[in-house]
Symmetry: C2
Subunit: 178 residues, 2 copies
């Protein structure tokens, strides 16, 4: 995979804009992928990310058991696969095989990276305190990878009911906010 290690302190810039992500998990039978939009940054460095995984999702059990996952960020070219992963369950199909996505071994976690995604964040579950009440997992990013050949990848942003906003242009303002 032609991706470069990405500085952990800059991970927030990838996730703060709110892209749809593909969360991959390892499993005893096979790895799985779920489509997810309910995530947010919690800390800059080491990067902590909160995300919601429902206990109705097949990935919930895999994340609970394995304690690891990869957050993969797809761009619009993968729109059909993103929707496909969201409309199906890993209980019934092997999503990597079914949607023609390529699992690549991660460097520090057992869950696979999705090769076709331009960014991959290897994560370990950091805090389970809010899992029972809300399905909120706090994840720590332990390694990050970026396809540096992709200039300005257009992410997808979920509006619900089949509608997605596609990332537009990036502008520069006089902000001092990290």
């Amino acid at each position: 995979m032609e991706k470069a290690a990405f500085p952990l302190g800059e991970v927030y810039g990838l996730l703060e804009p709110g892209p749809v992500i593909l969360l991959s998990t390892a499993g005893t039978a096979r790895p799985n992928i779920m489509t997810l939009s309910w995530h947010m940054m919690v800390e800059f460095e080491p990067p902590l990310i909160a995300c919601v995984v429902s206990n109705r999702d097949y990935s919930f059990g895999l994340l609970e058991a394995g304690g690891e996952c990869v957050i993969n960020i797809p761009s619009t070219e993968l729109a059909d696969k993103v929707v496909g992963c969201g409309n199906t369950s890993g209980r019934k199909i092997d999503k990597f095989q079914h949607f023609g996505l390529t699992p690549v071994p991660a460097s520090l976690v057992k869950a696979p990276l999705i090769a076709e995604c331009y960014a991959n964040l290897e994560c370990r579950v950091f805090d389970r305190d809010m899992v029972e009440k809300y399905g909120i997992f706090i994840l720590e990013v332990v390694a990050a990878w970026l396809d540096t050949s992709r200039k300005d990848p257009r992410t997808l942003h979920h509006r619900g009911m089949g509608k997605f906003m596609v990332a537009g242009e990036t502008i520069k303002l006089a902000s001092k906010m990290k």
Copy 2:
């Protein structure tokens, strides 16, 4: 204010794409505004939203004390004011006055709506369990307002260090995901 009540069950469609928000709070001295990108949906209906407010922010104390806030969603026309609110502190200035933003009384909470924002979500603090550890407040949206005359408002999405992605076109896919 010419805004229509917006169905609570559809609020997720406003916030899931990950826009920069302006969080307004009431205060004994004066109301305040902070710029914020670390938020996510937690439940569809009644809508629950998690957001991170640092205890270094002036708004932290106001939110802790008042237990209420409004999530206001700005579009690109307000970019300079959004950045201004992010680069200043309510300890020193009245942000409504300084940036020419208009406070409008909310229907159910003491915090004011920001008139210039196309969407306003009146919120009450629902769960403080993660405040001490991460600054995560779980908010319940109790009333929502939308400027229905604004077709396709272009939201801002923070990338850090002065860079913002501007929302692009909305596409329709075959997704069954709510």
